[in-house]
C-alpha cells in the first residue's frame, strides 16, 4: 500500500491546503511540498539502490497494481522533486498572481496535489486503465489552474488545452483498450513482458496520442499557447514533466506492439525534425515563456529520439532526458516567473544586462540552459547516452550523424543567444532583484541538476536504469 499511499497523499493533503491557502500561500506551499516527500523518498530509493518496489497481486485485472523500477522511478523522482521545489516556488508567485487577479490562491493549492499526484500515479501504476485515470486526474487539475490563474485569453487557452490533451488521452485510451482485448492488462515494461507481437492499429493509436501529448512536430501547436499562458509554476511543471509522459507511454507500451523494426527509422527522422524545428522556433521568440515552450518541443524531440532508437541506451537516455530537461526547464520557467513577479515583463527585448540585477538568478538560468544543451550537468550524461544510442543504431552510416550534430548546434544557438540577450549587454536597471523563496527554490533546483552529474549519484542513477532496461523483455 505504500506506493498507493504516497501517490494519494498529495491529493489528500491538497484538501487541507485549500483552507490553509486562504490564510497564507506560504503555508499551503510548504504543505504541498511536504506532501511529496514520501514519493520522493520511494523513487529515490528505487533509482539509487536499484531495487524495485512492487505492490498489488497482478492477478487478472488488478487495478491497484503498482510497480516502481529504476526506469519509471526516474520519471517519478523527477515529478516529485520538481513538484516539491515548484510548490515552494509557487508561494510568492501565486500570492503575486492572486493579488493581480484580486482573489486568493486556494484553488491553485487545491488542484496542485491532484496534478502532481496524478502524474506520479500515471508513472507508478501498472494497470493500463489506471495509467489513463491518473493522467486524467492530472489533466483536469491543471485545467482548473489555467482557467483560474492563467494569462491572456485564458478561457480560450483552457479550451484549447482541454481539447488537445483529450484528443491525446483518448487516442492512448483506445490503444490501451485494444491491448486489453489481447489480454494485456499491465504496462508491459513494468511486468517484464516480452514483445507482444505486431499490432499496427494499437501501435499507431498510442503513438499518435502520445505524440500529441509530447507536442511533436505538427501536433505541437497547442503547447506554445498553453505553456506561455499558464500560471508560471504550472508551466514549470507542465513543460518538463507532463508532456514527457508521452515518451514514457511510447517506450513502455507502444514499442511492445511495434509492427516492424523499420518503422523506428521514420520515427527517428521525425524526432530529429522535431528537435530542430523546436530549436529554430525557440530562437525566434520574443516572449520568454513562449521561447521556453518551443524549447520544450525541441527537447521532446530528443526524448522521442531516445525512444525511437529502440535500444537500451536510447531508453536510458530517454529517462535521463526526462530528468535533465525536467530540472533544467523548471529552473528556466521559474526564472521567467521571477521576471514576471519583479520586472512585470516577459518580453526578451525589454531585458538585457540583468546579470547584475541578480547574479544568482543568472547563474541558475545558465545552469538551466546547460541542462538543455548537455553541458556539465545531468544533461551532459543524457546527451552522451543518447549519442551512444545513436551510434549503436546508425553504426557506420556516417551521413546520419550530420543532422544529429545540427540538433545539438541548434540547441546551443538558442540557449546561449538567450543568455546573452537576457543577462548580458548594457544594464538598464539600477536596482537589485529581491531574495525570496522563489529565488531560493530555483537556485536549489539548478544545484541539484549539477549534483546529479557527479559520482556516486550519476553512477548509480545511470547504471541502475541501464541495467533494468537492458534486462527488459522487450529485446528478447
Amino acid at each position: 500500500m505504500i506506493i498507493l499511499a504516497s501517490v494519494l497523499l498529495p491529493m489528500a493533503l491538497s484538501l487541507l491546503a485549500y483552507p490553509l491557502a486562504k490564510r497564507s500561500s506560504y503555508l499551503a506551499g510548504y504543505l504541498s511540498a511536504g506532501a511529496l516527500i514520501p514519493l520522493l523518498a520511494l523513487s529515490a530509493y528505487v533509482v539509487f539502490s536499484g531495487n524495485p518496489l512492487s505492490e498489488g497481486s497482478f492477478h487478472t485485472f488488478d487495478l491497484l497494481a503498482f510497480r516502481i523500477i529504476p526506469f519509471n522511478g526516474v520519471f517519478i523522482f523527477t515529478v516529485a522533486l520538481v513538484g516539491a521545489l515548484v510548490a515552494l516556488y509557487s508561494s510568492p508567485y501565486m500570492e503575486h498572481r492572486a493579488h493581480e487577479l484580486g482573489g486568493d490562491t486556494a484553488i491553485f493549492y487545491l488542484t496542485y496535489g491532484f496534478f502532481v499526484g496524478g502524474l506520479a500515479g500515471a508513472f507508478a501504476a501498472a494497470n493500463l486503465i489506471m495509467v489513463y485515470v491518473f493522467i486524467e486526474v492530472a489533466l483536469i487539475a491543471s485545467l482548473f489552474q489555467i482557467l483560474y490563474y492563467g494569462y491572456g485569453d485564458r478561457v480560450r487557452i483552457t479550451i484549447m488545452y482541454l481539447v488537445w490533451s483529450h484528443v491525446g488521452a483518448l487516442l492512448v485510451l483506445a490503444g490501451f483498450v485494444l491491448l486489453y482485448l489481447k489480454g494485456v492488462y499491465y504496462v508491459p515494461l513494468l511486468i517484464d513482458s516480452g514483445p507482444l507481437g505486431a499490432d499496427s492499429v494499437a501501435f499507431l493509436l498510442i503513438l499518435l496520442g502520445s505524440l500529441v501529448k509530447m507536442a511533436a512536430l505538427g501536433v505541437h501547436m497547442w503547447l506554445p499557447y498553453v505553456h506561455a499562458e499558464a500560471p508560471t509554476p504550472l508551466s514549470a511543471l507542465l513543460s518538463p514533466v507532463l508532456v514527457g509522459i508521452g515518451g514514457y507511454l511510447i517506450a513502455a507500451t507502444a514499442m511492445y506492439v511495434l509492427p516492424e523494426a523499420g518503422w523506428t527509422r521514420w520515427l527517428v527522422y521525425y524526432a530529429i525534425a522535431t528537435a530542430i524545428y523546436g530549436g529554430l522556433m525557440a530562437f525566434l521568440q520574443k516572449d520568454l515563456k513562449r521561447l521556453f515552450a518551443y524549447s520544450t518541443v525541441s527537447q521532446m524531440g530528443y526524448l522521442l529520439l531516445g525512444v525511437a532508437l529502440f535500444n537500451p541506451f536510447g531508453y536510458t537516455a530517454a529517462a535521463l532526458l526526462y530528468l535533465s530537461h525536467g530540472l533544467g526547464k523548471a529552473v528556466l520557467f521559474m526564472t521567467a516567473g521571477y521576471f514576471i513577479m519583479h520586472l512585470h515583463t516577459r518580453d526578451v527585448e525589454k531585458m538585457g544586462g540583468l546579470y547584475g540585477w541578480r547574479p544568482e538568478l543568472a547563474g541558475a538560468a545558465v545552469v538551466g540552459f546547460l541542462n538543455l544543451a548537455g553541458i556539465l550537468s545531468v544533461g551532459m550524461i543524457s546527451e552522451i547516452t543518447l549519442t551512444v544510442s545513436f551510434a549503436k543504431y546508425f553504426g557506420t552510416e556516417y551521413l546520419a550523424y550530420i543532422p544529429y550534430a545540427v540538433v545539438l548546434l541548434v540547441t546551443g544557438i538558442y540557449a546561449f543567444n538567450t543568455i546573452r540577450v537576457v543577462f548580458f549587454g548594457p544594464p538598464r536597471r539600477e536596482d537589485k532583484g529581491p531574495v525570496d523563496l522563489a529565488l531560493v527554490a530555483l537556485v536549489v533546483t539548478a544545484l541539484i541538476s549539477l549534483l546529479l552529474f557527479l559520482p556516486p549519484l550519476s553512477t548509480s542513477l545511470v547504471d541502475n536504469v541501464y541495467n533494468t532496461v537492458v534486462g527488459a523483455g522487450l529485446w528478447r
Binding site: L284, F313, A373, M380, V388, Y401
Partner: protein, 616 residues
C-alpha cells in the same frame, strides 16, 4: 598516485569555496592558493610519479571511468599548465582588483584550470570530454566577463563592412566562441560515441589495441578532429580566437598559453599514435597538416596588420597553433612509414606547445599591463613606452624575440623543431608548395613582432602619465620572459640546437622588421593598401560569420515560422478547423427555424429514412 586528482581539482575546490565569501580579496587569494598547490603537486608528480594508469569507475553503462594517464606527455604538460595558471592567477590578483564581477571571474578561473588539467591527464575519453566541455564553457564565461559591453573592452571600432558590424562586444565574442566550439564538439561527441558503440572502449590504451577501431575508417577520425580544430582555432574556425580579446588580458593569457586552445593541439598529439593504426589515417593527417599550415600563414598575416595590441598576439597564437597542428599531422604522416620515428616527432610538436606557452603568457600579461597603464587598446594611440616602463619593455622584448623564433630563445628552438617535421613530410609526400610557404611564414613572423615592439615601446606618440606596472604584475611576466632564455638554453643542450636553412628566412625577416619598424619607421605604400585592407579585415571572414550565416539562419527560421508554424499548423488547427466547425454549426442552426410545420416535415423524413434502412 591518486594525488593527481588533487592536482586536477584543487583549483576547482578553491573556486567553489570562493563563492561563499563576498570579499574580493578572499576570492582572489583562495583561488591563487589553489592554483599554486595544484602546481606544486603537478611538479611533485613530474619528478616522482611512475608512468601508468590510475582510475575509478564512473558510469559502467557507457564505459566512463575517471581515469588518469601519467606519461611523457601528461606529466610535463600538467606541470606546464599548472604553473602558467598559477602565474596568471597571481598576476590577476592585482590586474582584476576592483573589478565589478569578481565572483564570476574567480569561479571560472579555477574551473577553467581544473577543466584543462582534466584534459591533460585524462585517459578515458568521456572523462576528457568533461574537461573539454568545461574549458569551452569557462572560455565563454571569461571572454564575456565584462558583460556590460563597455567600449573599452571591444574588439574593433564602430564601423561596418558590407553592412556587417565590424566590432565585437564581450557578450558577442563569447557567443561566437561557444558556438564555434559547440559545432566542433557536436562532432567530437559523435566520434567518441562511435568509438564506444563500435569498438567498445573509450580509453586511449583500449582504443590503441582495438581492431574494431582500425576497421572504422577515416570518417570518425575527421569527426573527432573537428573538436580539436575548432578548439585550437584552426582555419576557418580561427575567428573566435581573435574576437576573444574582449576578455580581461589575464584571461587571454590563460586561454592562449595554458588552457583551451592548447587543449585542442594537445589532444591531437596524444591521439596520433592511436589513429596511426586506423585504415585510411593518411587522409586525416594530411587534413590536419594542411589546415595547420594554412592557419599559420593566414593568422600571421592577420597579426601583421592588426591595429590592436592584443589582436596581434591573438593572431600569433593562431599561427603557432597552426604550426603545432601541422607538426602533429606531419608526425603522423611520417609515422605511417616509420613508426619508430613517431614518438620523437610528436615530442617536437609537443615542445612547441611549451615554447609558445611560455612566451605568449608573458606577452599577454605584459601587454595587459601596457593597456592597463596607457588606457587604450589601439596600436598608435600610445608610444615610446620604453621611457616609462623599462622592466616591461625588456620583458616584452625578450618574450617577443622568443615568440617570433629568434635564436637562442626557446621559441626558436621549439618552432624550428616543429617545422622540421613539416618540411620532412613535404619532402616525403612530394608537396612542392609546402617549403616556399613555410619560408614565407618564417619571414613574416619576426616582422609583426618587431612592428608591435617598435610601435609600442620605441616610436610613436609620447605617452603621458604612464608608470611601470606594480610588482605583483611584472614579477610573473618577467619571470616567464627570463624563462624563455633559460628554457632555450636547456632545450638546446637537452634536445638539440637546430641549424637549418630556415634560419636564413627568419633572420631576413628580422632584418626587414628591424629596418621597417625600429630603425627607419614610417614606411607607407599606397600600392599595398588594398592588400593591407584585405588582411586588416581578416579576409572578410567576419562578413560570413557575423553577416551571412546569422542572416541565413534567422531567415530560414522565420520562413519556417511564417509558413509552417503560423500558416499551416496554427492556421489549420486554430483557425480553419474551428472555423469549419463554426460554419457547420451555423448551418445546423439554420435548420431550427421554430416553424412547427418544418419540424413535422423533418419528422416524416426521419421516419421514412428509418423505414427504408429497416427494409433494406
Amino acid at each position: 598516485m591518486e594525488v593527481v586528482l588533487l592536482a586536477i581539482f584543487f583549483p576547482l575546490i578553491t573556486s567553489i569555496l570562493s563563492l561563499f565569501s563576498a570579499s574580493e580579496k578572499f576570492k582572489a587569494w583562495a583561488v591563487t592558493a589553489g592554483t599554486f598547490i595544484s602546481a606544486l603537486i603537478a611538479t611533485y608528480l613530474f619528478l616522482n610519479a611512475s608512468p601508468g594508469l590510475y582510475g575509478w569507475d564512473w558510469i559502467t553503462a557507457i564505459g566512463a571511468r575517471i581515469e588518469v594517464r601519467l606519461d611523457n606527455f601528461s606529466l610535463p604538460m600538467g606541470m606546464l599548465v599548472a604553473w602558467l595558471v598559477a602565474a596568471i592567477s597571481l598576476y590577476s590578483v592585482k590586474y582584476m582588483e576592483g573589478d565589478y564581477r569578481p565572483g564570476w571571474y574567480w569561479f571560472f578561473f579555477g574551473f577553467f584550470a581544473s577543466s584543462m588539467l582534466i584534459i591533460v591527464y585524462a585517459e578515458n575519453l568521456w572523462f576528457l570530454l568533461v574537461g573539454w566541455e568545461g574549458v569551452g564553457l569557462a572560455s565563454w564565461a571569461l571572454i564575456g566577463h565584462w558583460y556590460r559591453d563597455e567600449f573599452e573592452y571591444w574588439v574593433g571600432r564602430e564601423e561596418r563592412v558590407a553592412g556587417v558590424p565590424y566590432w565585437w562586444t564581450p557578450s558577442k565574442a563569447g557567443l561566437r566562441a561557444i558556438l564555434t566550439v559547440r559545432f566542433g564538439d557536436a562532432f567530437f561527441l559523435v566520434a567518441i560515441a562511435l568509438f564506444y558503440a563500435l569498438a567498445g572502449t573509450v580509453s586511449l590504451t583500449g582504443l590503441k589495441a582495438s581492431e574494431a577501431l582500425r576497421a572504422l575508417g577515416v570518417v570518425p577520425l575527421l569527426f573527432f578532429a573537428l573538436g580539436p580544430l575548432t578548439k585550437s582555432a584552426q582555419f576557418p574556425f580561427h575567428e573566435w580566437l581573435l574576437t576573444a580579446m574582449t576578455g580581461p588580458t589575464s584571461v587571454s593569457a590563460l586561454i592562449h598559453a595554458a588552457t583551451m586552445v592548447k587543449a585542442g593541439v594537445y589532444v591531437l598529439i596524444v591521439t596520433t599514435p592511436i589513429f596511426l593504426l586506423v585504415r585510411g589515417a593518411e587522409l586525416y593527417f594530411l587534413v590536419v597538416m594542411s589546415l595547420g599550415v594554412v592557419t599559420a600563414l593566414a593568422a600571421t598575416l592577420i597579426a601583421l596588420t592588426a591595429m590592436e595590441f592584443k589582436l596581434v598576439l591573438a593572431g600569433s597564437t593562431a599561427a603557432n597553433l597552426g604550426i603545432i597542428a601541422a607538426a602533429t599531422g606531419a608526425a603522423g604522416l611520417l609515422g605511417l612509414h616509420d613508426e619508430h620515428l613517431l614518438s620523437t616527432l610528436l615530442f617536437f610538436a609537443f615542445l612547441h606547445i611549451v615554447g609558445h606557452a611560455v612566451s605568449k603568457a608573458s606577452l599577454f600579461m605584459g601587454f595587459g599591463a601596457v593597456i592597463h597603464e596607457a588606457g587604450t587598446r589601439f596600436i598608435g594611440e600610445v608610444g615610446r613606452l620604453w621611457r616609462h616602463m623599462k622592466i616591461t619593455g625588456v620583458a616584452m622584448a625578450l618574450s617577443m624575440l622568443s615568440l617570433v623564433g629568434i635564436p637562442p630563445f626557446v621559441g626558436y628552438i621549439t618552432k624550428d623543431l616543429a617545422l622540421e617535421n613539416v618540411f620532412e613530410a613535404g619532402h616525403a609526400y612530394h608537396i612542392e608548395l609546402l617549403a616556399p610557404v613555410l619560408y614565407l611564414l618564417l619571414f613574416i613572423t619576426p616582422i609583426y613582432g618587431l612592428r608591435l615592439l617598435g610601435l609600442t615601446f620605441v616610436h610613436g606618440k609620447e605617452a603621458e602619465e604612464v608608470h611601470e606596472a606594480p610588482a605583483l604584475m611584472w614579477i610573473p611576466y618577467t619571470a616567464l620572459a627570463i624563462a624563455t632564455i633559460v628554457l632555450g638554453a636547456y632545450f638546446a643542450v637537452a634536445v638539440k640546437f637546430p641549424l637549418t636553412e630556415a634560419l636564413v628566412s627568419v633572420l631576413a625577416g628580422f632584418l626587414t622588421g628591424f629596418i621597417l619598424y625600429i630603425w627607419l619607421p614610417g614606411f607607407r605604400s599606397e600600392v599595398l593598401s588594398p592588400l593591407w585592407n584585405f588582411l586588416y579585415r581578416r579576409f572578410y571572414l567576419p562578413v560570413l560569420y557575423d553577416g551571412v550565416l546569422p542572416l541565413l539562419y534567422t531567415g530560414f527560421a522565420k520562413f519556417i515560422y511564417v509558413v509552417f508554424d503560423k500558416g499551416l499548423f496554427d492556421g489549420l488547427y486554430h483557425n480553419v478547423l474551428p472555423g469549419a466547425f463554426d460554419a457547420l454549426s451555423r448551418l445546423a442552426r439554420r435548420l431550427i427555424t421554430g416553424d412547427i410545420n418544418i419540424y413535422v416535415l423533418y419528422g416524416m423524413v426521419g421516419i421514412l429514412i428509418t423505414l427504408l434502412l429497416l427494409l433494406l
